[in-house]
């Protein structure tokens, strides 16, 4: 996946920074795979670093998740759609 830093910042895509203690860092894959039942996901203890999510192309369903120096790329059309949906719902579209 050609995801340069500049492309990440400039191309028409969605990047969402979620800063705070509410994200399940050690079990990112599990979080995504069970996203339909997020309430069942156990949360990590202690402080966690911010999480950045990037959807380059909604149609691919590919979501890049970055925490610290790690990057996990998952293909989850539902998750990608819900991220877009969260944005457009706020904008009333």
């Amino acid at each position: 996946m050609n995801l340069s830093r500049r492309a990440f910042l400039s191309r028409s895509s969605i990047g969402i920074a979620l800063a705070g203690a509410a994200m399940a860092v050690p079990a990112l894959g599990a979080v995504i795979k069970t996203s339909a039942a997020a309430d069942k996901v156990s949360m990590p203890n202690g402080d966690v670093e911010p999480l950045v999510a990037h959807v380059r192309d909604l149609s691919s369903g590919e979501v890049s998740l970055m925490v610290g120096t790690e990057q996990v790329v998952v293909r989850d059309a539902n998750l990608a759609a819900r991220l877009y949906g969260a944005v457009f719902a706020r904008k009333g579209r």
Partner: protein, 457 residues
């Protein structure tokens, strides 16, 4: 320039922009090799109140390949951390900085050095102090002593390190060379002629930020050896490059910027001028993102360099033999991408194998020259560029002459270089064997930075 502002993207990111790379057997410590990577091009010495500094958000690295695969075998990583001592003043310094730990220096920068070899990371130094920038006689009196105190020994007898501002040691007639390839001393022969005048060092009175290491030869070789069975010993040859990285994602605002994701390479440098002059504009940014092991995809630009086609056009009638040379420039491929094999230049080789990669190749079995030529190998001095690169080597003239054809007979004996190919230069006639700058005789070799007070932009 060597690699200053050489690609569109990195030109907008000077803190991560590698400008020059040097590698040479230390003339005053021949059991060691000095590796120097410069960053932040064209620093005006008076550029305050926020004077130049390394990027806390940049990972800097110097790589050494010692087995010819263009992959790192020894890596040195550098991370910087800037402090603010007094948050309530706009001043860089609140009084004279007479010592490197002076409380008057309001924005000191510290750094760590990590060596990676055989899969093991070893921190060789931490909380090491950079010197301040050379502000002026009131703020940074006795600068040379101040800078000297910023030379640190690395743990475990792994050598020493310096990171901080230096005088720009690379010389080039910037204003002329980028005005349609003009060489002032020969511009009467240019397609758009002007009267010939002396060359100008466009980087005079500018500074740069230097990361310099002086490490034992045994730290760099594949088997830990420090002596070799002559110049032809393949263990003696290393390939060197530097690279800078930023985090993949950055979210600005909301009080604190957030950086996240893996480190992404944004700048790379091996041989001077490779990305600047060889790689076309459309590929420069991509080249900066790639490792040397990917350089085979750029070999056509070395085999048929654009500059070799331009010279006969820009200087009509001056380079007729070059104009007629249509074959692959395998001399340049050897110089820049594989090293020069044995049997090409008597008593010399710096061949790393058939892997095509832009690395600065150094044969460490060749001792420092007692009478160095700034023209390096083409000046009969095998201790200079393209056998590594020393701080005073006139790499612009060397590469101009090489591209113009002086090295082509090494692989094509039927080619006769044009007379001009062996005499062109841009700043000063190298026949004087004098660089237009002065350097230090010992580590870190690049001279103390120009003072902002003395050299306003």
């Amino acid at each position: 320039m060597s690699s200053h502002r050489e690609a569109p993207a990195i030109a907008k990111d000077p803190v991560a922009d590698s400008t020059d790379l040097y590698a040479f057997v230390s003339p005053d410590a021949p059991g060691t090799v000095t590796l120097i990577a410069n960053y932040i091009p064209l620093e005006g010495p008076d550029g305050g109140p926020n004077f130049f500094e390394f990027g806390d958000d940049v990972l800097y690295a110097i790589y050494v390949d010692n087995n010819g695969d263009a992959a790192p075998d020894v890596t040195y990583r550098f991370r910087f951390k800037t402090q603010i001592r007094n948050p309530n003043t706009f001043l860089y310094n609140t009084g004279p900085i007479s010592a490197i730990d002076s409380p008057n220096w309001n924005r000191p920068q510290l750094y760590s050095v990590t060596r990676v070899a055989h899969g093991t990371e070893t921190v060789l130094g931490d909380h090491l102090a950079c010197p301040p920038c050379n502000v002026g006689p009131r703020s940074t009196p006795a600068y040379s002593a101040l800078a000297q105190s910023a030379i640190h020994n690395l743990s475990g007898s792994h050598g020493k390190v310096f990171a901080g501002q230096r005088q720009e040691g690379f010389y080039v007639d910037l204003g002329s060379i980028f005005d349609l390839g003009a060489l002032r001393p020969f511009q009467d022969l240019h397609l758009l002629p002007l009267p010939p005048v002396a060359g100008v060092n466009g980087t005079k009175h500018l500074n740069v930020h230097t990361i310099a290491l002086q490490v034992p030869i045994s730290d760099l070789t594949r088997d830990g050896s420090s002596t070799f069975a002559g110049v032809t010993d393949p263990r003696a040859v290393i390939g060197v490059w530097t690279a800078a990285y930023r985090r993949k994602a950055m979210i600005r605002g909301d009080g604190d910027d957030i950086e996240s994701g893996p480190w992404v390479q944004v700048s790379r440098l091996g041989n001077p001028l490779f990305n600047e002059v060889i790689v076309p504009m459309s590929a420069k940014d991509r080249w900066n993102e790639l490792p040397p092991a990917s350089d085979s995809k750029f070999v056509q630009y070395v085999q048929h360099p654009e500059l070799a086609k331009l010279l006969p056009v820009l200087y009509p009638g001056v380079f007729p033999n070059l104009a007629g040379a249509t074959g692959s420039r395998d001399d340049l491929v050897a110089i820049l991408m594989t090293g020069i094999p044995s049997g090409i230049v008597a008593g010399f080789q710096n061949f790393t194998g058939t892997t095509l990669a832009d690395m600065l190749r150094l044969n460490m079995a060749i001792p420092p020259s007692t009478s160095p030529s700034i023209l390096g190998l083409i000046g009969g001095d095998a201790a200079g560029f393209p056998n590594g690169r020393r701080v005073a080597d006139d790499v612009v003239t060397i590469e101009l002459r090489a591209v113009a054809g002086v090295t082509y007979p090494l692989v094509n004996p039927g080619f006769t270089p044009d007379g001009a190919a062996g005499v062109i230069y841009d700043v000063e006639d190298p026949a004087t064997n004098t660089a237009p700058l002065s350097y230090l005789g010992s580590f870190p070799y690049l001279n103390h930075p120009e003072s902002g007070f003395d050299v306003p932009s």
